[in-house]
């Protein structure tokens, strides 16, 4: 008790020293509390984001595969191997008491080519002509004709500003072609030979209309029904879920808005959101850039309007702008020149008048879209799939990372994967055997081909008779295959008809589970720790000799999962530096204080105090400092955490939304946070005290007296 009394007296006597040392300890304790709260809360939020959106608690992939699964890693498919026996694995996993659900998956990326606006319209015209639908042909033809007229006007304007001599030959001939296509005679003769006219428009004119839409889509190929039931963050936004057992595609709402929506409309949405956050048109550079793009890219609107829509939009814009201008391009340009005062009105007008007349989304709910994949075996694969709707992961609407995942049915996924079946392999082997090609190694290719014994081979095949040449053609002579117009949808028995029939086919659960997949998501039952789940799953893998590797959600999510480790490292390093500085400063302060107290300590020794008592005096003083200032620091830290834990911290960007598991971040102090912070402060203070205490122990009464003299 006496030691505590002395300690408190010393703290009050040496106020400057106490303030410096105390300030450092308060800051260190504060940092530990806030840091631990941040880390613990981010870890918990991120686990919800990752586990409940795509990854589940545990992922399985093929053992020994070249790459490790990285769900939020690089685009494109990694070489993570294949899993062939999912039904067997599923049955075994579902028997484990720790496992709640098992979902087959495969993550990949593909491209959807949109073509330029004219390409898309010409495709519609070609389809109408093929279908023999005269009314539709007429409607689309008039629209195409208007687009060609607009293109002609635009190119003529461009010609006025361009140095004719520097213009490429392609450009010069393109200008002539567009002018030709804009003549009444061209359109008057369209019905006589529509296919020749279409070829001319597709090959000579469409290339002059720049701007091609290309979507890069990342998707999870999965049992869509099971995915929907297991991942509780999944919720539909538009359309309907993919019917159980059917093929289909669901866009993530984030991707749908960012990539599929009409660009002008999307930019207007972004301006609206930014203004709602308090930004001003006059001062926000990004808003200015969006306005500039909307003004210069007026074609995104004018090209999409047919004659009737053009008149309606023209009238609405003239009224809004109080203008007599008749050029729609100039009207759109002026209309898009928004400011803080007129934005809300023009935004509403855009969605009321213009949006219904343009294709607001390149792919709409119910459309069939064409996805281009690059299969594992190297084939470029293409499939048609119906878009049923859009969905989101609850709370992660604004997250780029979670928003990048779209959902595709497993059967279509397998088609895009182009996985080699035994039949395909046998067919390839037969073709290779027939070709007689001898494999050539890269390193020895030159010597084998052109070294001694090699050399160039020139065959003179002029003697081959026309009959021999004709026999070389594996199909009928092209002349015999002059095309006939086939109504769309009749399809016959060809590949297209087969593909069409797949759209409505309902696959059994055995068919869905039966094919190849890339990875398996395992959701654990509530309350089961991931470590325990991993132990159980690994035991099952060993017992059944499955060629599988288990990864917890952190490892399976790739770099993002390791992000928490990076934050830990940064925090630990910061605390280490703070403690190191504290240690040096506290040590110096106590050494100075010890020297100042030489007489006092010498006197204490003279009246019988033992060295151990001197040591205890310093230790107790250190503990008192640690407890008093540590508690103050912890209180400050806890106060701050509690404040943001209640009101939340706005997630400033997409990545923060993902880390926070929602638009706001709510930190919370873990139960072990307070003891850990206090313990750390005490240990550092104690270490800082050791050297001054050792010095104090060596002070003798004689030295104290000499010091006073």
């Amino acid at each position: 008790m006496i030691l505590i009394h002395i300690a408190l007296r010393n703290l009050l006597t040496h106020k400057v020293k106490s303030a410096i040392v105390g300030g450092l300890l308060v800051f260190a304790a504060f940092l530990i509390i806030v840091g631990l709260s941040l880390i613990s809360s981010i870890d918990s939020s991120m686990s919800k984001s990752i586990v409940n959106s795509v990854a589940a608690h545990i992922q399985l992939q093929q053992k020994g595969a070249k790459d490790e699964l990285s769900i939020f890693g690089q685009m494109g498919s990694n070489e993570i191997g294949y899993i062939h026996n999912f039904p067997e694995i599923r049955k075994a996993l579902e028997a484990l008491p720790e496992v709640a659900a098992v979902v087959p998956q495969g993550i990949d990326s593909s491209i959807v080519f949109g073509g330029n606006v004219l390409d898309v319209k010409l495709e519609a015209l070609r389809n109408a002509v093929k279908a023999g639908d005269k009314i539709q042909t007429d409607v689309v033809r008039r629209h195409v004709r208007r687009m060609v007229a607009l293109l002609d006007d635009e190119l003529k304007n461009l010609k006025g500003f361009t140095d004719q001599e520097k213009m490429s030959d392609d450009m010069k001939s393109g200008l002539v072609d567009v002018t030709q296509a804009n003549q009444p005679a061209f359109w008057d003769s369209f019905d006589q030979d529509p296919y020749s006219h279409l070829e001319f428009l597709e090959n000579k004119i469409a290339k002059m209309a720049i701007g091609e839409d290309m979507l890069m889509l990342r998707y999870v190929g999965t049992d869509t029904e099971r995915f929907r039931q297991v991942f509780d963050r999944f919720e539909m936004v538009d359309g309907t879920p993919i019917p159980p057992g059917q093929r289909g595609f669901l866009f993530n709402k984030f991707t749908y808005e960012e990539q599929v929506k009409h660009k002008t409309a999307r930019r207007l949405d972004k301006i609206r959101d930014r203004l709602a956050e308090g930004a001003k048109v006059a001062t926000d550079e990004e808003i200015k850039q969006w306005i500039k793009l909307n003004r210069t890219q007026y074609k995104e609107i004018t090209f999409q309007l047919d004659d009737v829509a053009t008149d309606a939009v023209k009238a609405a814009l003239q009224a809004e702008l109080a203008s007599q201008e008749t050029d729609l391009a100039k009207l759109v340009d002026a209309f898009m020149d928004v400011n803080d005062a007129n934005f809300a009105k023009r935004y509403a007008l855009f969605y009321k008048v213009i949006a219904p007349k343009i294709r607001l989304y390149g792919i709409r709910v119910g459309d069939t879209m064409t996805i281009n994949g690059f299969s594992q075996s190297g084939y470029a694969t293409t499939v048609n799939v119906k878009m049923f709707g859009t969905f989101r992961f609850h709370g992660l609407d604004r997250s780029t990372m979670a928003g990048a995942f779209n959902i595709l049915d497993l059967m279509t996924y397998r088609d895009l994967l182009g996985y080699m079946t035994a039949d395909k392999k046998a067919e390839i082997a037969k073709l290779q055997a027939e070709s007689g090609v001898k494999e050539l190694k890269r390193d020895s290719a030159e010597d084998e081909l052109f070294g001694k014994g090699g050399g160039e081979v020139v065959e003179d095949t002029s003697d081959a008779t026309p009959a021999q040449a004709a026999a070389a053609t594996p199909t009928d002579a092209p002349a015999a295959a002059t095309p006939t117009v086939v109504a769309a949808g009749n399809g016959g028995t060809g590949a297209k008809a087969f593909a069409k029939s797949l759209e409505s086919h309902v696959y059994s659960q055995a068919e869905i589970d039966g094919g190849v997949i890339r990875n398996i998501a395992i959701m654990l039952k509530p309350g089961v720790d991931v470590k325990d789940g991993m132990i159980a799953v690994n035991r099952l893998i060993d017992e059944n000799k499955f060629e599988l590797k288990a990864l917890d959600w952190r490892a399976a999510s790739g770099l993002v999962g390791n992000f928490i480790g990076v934050i830990y490292a940064v925090l630990a390093f910061s605390i280490f530096i703070i403690f190191l500085v504290s240690l040096v400063i506290i040590n110096n302060s106590l050494v100075m204080s010890t020297l100042e107290r030489t007489r006092e300590i010498g006197t204490m020794r003279a009246i019988g105090a033992q060295r151990t008592e001197i040591l205890w005096m310093f230790v107790v003083e250190a503990f008192v400092m640690a407890i008093v200032f540590g508690a103050i620091g912890c209180a400050f830290g806890y106060g701050l955490v509690a404040y943001f834990g209640h009101f939340g911290l706005l997630a400033g960007n997409d990545f923060m939304v993902f880390l926070s598991g929602g638009p706001r971040f709510y930190p919370a102090l873990p139960p072990w946070g307070l003891p850990v912070a206090m313990l750390a402060v005490m240990i550092v203070t104690l270490i800082s005290t050791l050297y001054p205490a050792w010095l104090a122990m060596r002070i003798t009464p004689l030295a104290a007296m000499q010091d006073s003299e």
């Binding site: 050539l440 081909l449 002059t482």
Partner: protein, 268 residues
């Protein structure tokens, strides 16, 4: 003696006189070419592969990729050089039958019968996902598209060749910015070709050890075509593509062949 010397001189000059193609033996180091001569060689290379009429061939494409299954196609290639038209129609395997590429002017289209869609593709399109490009099957336009610099004679294996560097002319769209060619001193054909990206990175090395020549009635002369092309991917080491061109036919093709409608009709 006088007659003998005249005869010797005549025989020495005969190969160059008889044909534009150089006729030095492959194992004898040739005299270096001047820049105009090098240009002439490239022009001749283009000209000899060009047919004024139509062209059809059966091709076999095999791609080997490390740790992956082989990709193999049988296809038909049709060309009408006068109109800058090219079509590749896949015949096998079954899953690829009916797919095709159509080049008309500067447009390269790809058609997939399972989706019924036409898509524009770029010059850099990997044909059927292999290392081959459109230009590997198309008319040779080297002199038109590239500037030529002669590097000197160089040995390729046991054969002497003329090495040339070709740089893409401004405003021309081609798959590669720079080519280095090794031309046979005996036939003038390209035996080795290296293709470089804009950055200067080597992308592909191609060997063309076998050529065929065939009399073209429309050209009234020989047309030279590669018979075997070996492409090595220099970016993804270990990947390679082999192309065999068989049964070339220089007879006229139907007028409506190079159209979308014709290609679509092949898969109905």
């Amino acid at each position: 003696m006088k007659y003998f010397l005249t005869a010797c001189l005549f025989l020495t000059a005969l190969p160059a006189w008889a044909d534009d193609a150089p006729a030095a033996a492959a194992d004898v180091q040739p005299a270096p070419l001047t820049e105009p001569e090098a240009l002439k060689w490239i022009q001749q290379l283009d000209d000899r592969q060009r047919n004024s009429g139509d062209y059809k061939t059966v091709v076999y494409i095999e791609r080997k990729e490390r740790n992956k299954n082989d990709v193999v196609f049988d296809a038909l290639v049709f060309r009408r050089d006068a109109d800058d038209k090219l079509m590749i129609l896949f015949e096998a395997p079954k899953s690829e039958k009916g797919k095709g590429y159509l080049r008309v002017d500067k447009n390269l289209w790809m058609y997939d019968p399972t989706t019924g869609k036409w898509e524009r593709r770029t010059e850099r399109e990997k044909i059927g996902g292999t290392d081959s490009r459109r230009a590997d099957f198309d008319e040779s336009r080297l002199a038109e598209e590239y500037s030529i610099k002669y590097e000197g004679p160089e040995k390729l294996g046991a054969m002497w060749t003329h090495k040339m560097t070709l740089t893409l002319k401004k405003g021309v769209d081609a798959a590669y910015a720079k080519l280095v060619l090794w031309l046979s001193t005996t036939s003038g054909n390209t035996l080795k070709k290296q293709e470089f990206a804009d950055s200067g990175k080597l992308m592909r090395t191609t060997y063309t050890p076998k050529w065929a020549k065939k009399f073209s009635p429309s050209k009234k002369g020989d047309v030279w075509t590669p018979k075997e092309i070996r492409i090595f991917d220099e970016v993804e080491k270990g990947n390679s593509t082999t192309i065999l061109l068989k049964e070339q036919d220089l007879n006229a093709l139907p007028a409506n062949l190079f159209t979308k409608a014709w290609l679509e009709s092949q898969s109905r």
